[in-house]
Subunit: 150 residues, 4 copies
């Protein structure tokens, strides 16, 4: 499916919104790539993001995956729209440890109101990647009085 963003400035708009997500800065997540219907985010490994076994906490992975899904959908939204997570689900496939967690998302369906996205997280170490988590998420386009972005 060829995806043509209705807003030609989709990349700068997406990067600007990502920069407003304080949680991304707090966990050290970096927006690596923004393309139509596609977003990549990197999360360098940090001890202070782990669970009791020393792996990245599943919820922290979900935080990055959710942002990746939301912004993948956002790239295809009109310039005046905001994006809202309706729901997401993750399956944890393997322990998340390594040098960096690479997250890649893409839009599966871009609707007027509802978009569906998937994202996958890969734990990278020494150039090797391991698939650690997969997400499916539903995103909502909010405009006008529903647009909480103001």
């Amino acid at each position: 499916m060829p995806l043509t963003p209705p807003d030609p400035d989709f990349e700068s708009r997406t990067r600007a919104s990502f920069a407003k997500q304080a949680a991304m800065a707090t966990i050290g997540a970096r927006l690596a790539r923004v393309a139509p219907g596609e977003v990549h985010i990197d999360l360098p490994f940090r001890e202070d993001l782990t669970q009791q076994h020393g792996f990245i906490h599943a919820g922290i992975l979900a935080t990055v995956l959710d942002s990746a899904c939301g912004y993948a959908a956002f790239t295809l939204m009109p310039a005046d729209a905001g994006v809202l997570s309706i729901e997401f689900k993750v399956n944890l496939l393997a322990p998340a440890h390594g040098d960096v967690i690479r997250v890649r998302s893409r839009v599966v369906r871009a609707g007027r109101t509802i978009s569906v996205c998937t994202a996958d997280a890969f734990a990278a170490r020494d150039g090797q990647e391991r698939h650690v988590t997969t997400m499916t998420a539903t995103m909502m386009t909010v405009t006008g009085r529903d647009n909480v972005t103001g």
Copy 2:
């Protein structure tokens, strides 16, 4: 269903494991209550945990809900077992803002290998609570060679 933990020291074991989750300290989450098949966690509101609209990031909510579900299941596991998240799904019901996010989880089914838990997050302000997120999660009991807790 009356839930009798096989390990009488379930509470101290659960609190000790929670204390090892560095991610919980990083986001400021506090273990409020540990009972058989039930865990409460509080997350005081912090600006540095928000998304672009100033609400707590859905993934940060999921982080707390996932820990709450995992430890609810953990209270009912044998003393030598570890807990692993298999999958979880959240629905976002309302924007998460307020003074503190209160998360309450409970075990729906405690199996030998697989447990299913639910958790709900409520945004509290001035003594009023609003239901903001609900999670269903699948947890796995890991023992012996599968127990990554060492």
Copy 3:
């Protein structure tokens, strides 16, 4: 949360729509109760709905749970609206066998566009019930040009 249906004829409207679901008749599901934000459906056990071990197929359970969730949301929608399933997730808790599967759903959040519902299935035999499945579902209110109900 007190739920007041905007359409006073919500019950007959819900029963009429349920009657149009040919799949419900095919599997023998019966609408037992319709209340504001709440629907009960019964599915008598039938051999021809089972999986390889002789239990009701998880997907057939999901079929009933999805209808229950959709119609629970539908009871709270305006008279001219249609309901659409956005997504649902089920956890299978125990094998579904017995005389009848009783499904009970309720609305967790009734939004203008998006509603979130949960439903549980119980396998009943000799007056005893066992919790076999739980669902969380997202439903959409469709009106005007989005309303595929015509």
Copy 4:
């Protein structure tokens, strides 16, 4: 990932188990392809499987997707194992109508106890396919006293 089934007779074993799923015969689903970690199922359109708008009921789609996921995992299990659905989630992308619904599943992670699979449903008409549903599912390998297949 190259997937080598531990049981060389995986295909006949899978087809034999599928044949025992009475629900598949009831809805008219046909096992089209069985390969290591991959299963295709076709569901010809039938009026008696529809919801109130004349599309295939989301739960009926989930029934086929669940079987596809379960049997994709089953192809990679030992000869004496049974497969059990732990949970699944579907996102509905577009109305399911057409001549036949084609479902394709594949294993994302094949673990000793837990496997994760995805499946997609496409509505086909006049040689054109439309992506209508996507599922992520968790399957469990059951052996010995847990193996309910007897």
